[in-house]
Amino acid sequence: MSEHHIRDLFDLAAAVPDGAKLAVPADYSGVAMAATRALIRRGVRHLHLVCVPVSGLQAEMLIGAGAVKVIESSAVTLGEYGPAPRFVEAVRYGKITLKDATCPAIHAALQAAAKGLPFMPLRGILGSDLLAHRPDWRVIENPFEAGDPIVALPAIRPDIALFHAPLADREGNVFIGRRRELMTMAHAARRTFVTVEEISETSLFDDERLAAGVIPALYVSAVVRAKSGAWPLGLWNAYEADDAFLRRYATLAKTDEGFAQVLARWLDEPAMAAE
């Protein structure tokens, strides 16, 4: 862990500069929603959001709050709760720049960065309009076999990876279990900020069964404790998403006024429903 001055969500939000290329995970991985609240409170602007490989409420609220300039994602949706209304509205009126992707392309481009490679080839994609609208994606010939076109994706090197996990220790080792995309994000990003439910007083490397699912502190810049830090989203094996909040959000956020109302309430709400 390298940034010991980051002790709480306020410090963490202050350490994310405007315009940062910020990588965030899908809802099932562990989304740092408490940190997202802190970011919106601090008025972060012009983020280049990289969704690994999709996003939901987090991207939606950041977009609604006017914090996003560019979004690179394979999808933005509230899942069972329907379309992401602020995302849809921002697309309609050209308020954000879209880099529409496909899930494995985002994974592969992060893996390229994790390997220190300039690009990664990937199957599929050829003949799609995704490719037509991504001038940064190129079609090359397989150098080992003539007549085999393949898409080359430039590496994605996020400035910051930000996610929420159940457990870390005092050194900054973070338990992510089998959410290995979080490991790839941490390997690929210049800095990684993690919020956690709990901090263990003993090293996570003391237990070999835990160690296999641990991001070593080498890749982690800062860990901040945030109880129920994924709320109103859920955290695997810990708590479910807040159904009442998400229903209310999906209805209210259809209008500017409704979104402003739900956002203001969310920013002010100190209590965490999941506690």
Partner: protein, 250 residues
Amino acid sequence: MNDAPLSEVATRQEFLISTIAGLIAGCGHVAVGSASPIPGSAALLARARSGGAMRVSVLGSLRNNFFTDGGVELFDCAAQGRVDAFFLGGGQIDGEGNINLVGTGAYPSMEVRWPGSFGSAYLYFLVPRVILFREEHTRRVLVEKVDFVSAPGKSDPGVYRPGGPHALLTNLALFDFDRGRHRFRLRSVHPGHSVEEVLDNTGFTFERPQKVPQTPSPDPETLALIRGSVRDEIAEVYPRFAAAAFAPRG
């Protein structure tokens, strides 16, 4: 059929679950992506009938997801040829099997914007049996040509493509996809619907046999499975769906 007791009549969702399960019977590994409660239920049903031979991975599930290498593993697994069947939807699907998950109108500031392409632009190329599934069967959805190609139904010669469309299921009918001719062929029409209704509501041309059979309804044993273990298992990932889609237990 209308006189039968409630427990013997399949709900619309139960009918679709049963039909999809028939399309993936015999597969070794069936994967289910996001926002797919009906395909997810169908995969769990097919697995229950396979006597343990079929593997199923449901994205977002803790209990029915054996992947341990993160979000990339499904895609790597497909590229290795280890995924036999997958499901894709589409805000628009056209007669050549192109699918559009992005929106309508001119990209990027589209009139209607949908979530996005997810893994379609990749899995459509690599999974041998891709089932296209969209409940709404209208000319709005089944169009002559999609506004945006998230994933193409066919590829130029030389493009590496072991996968592609296998069938298309809607609320009205079931089509097969002919990969040689890049066209749909009507296989059957669901009970209570007609070929004329399918023709009226489909924006692309398709082939059809002279006499079009009816899509079979689930038998009582299948319905019992759907309303039992399948409902319980899918509720883990799609609680709202599980609460609404099934008939009361018999």
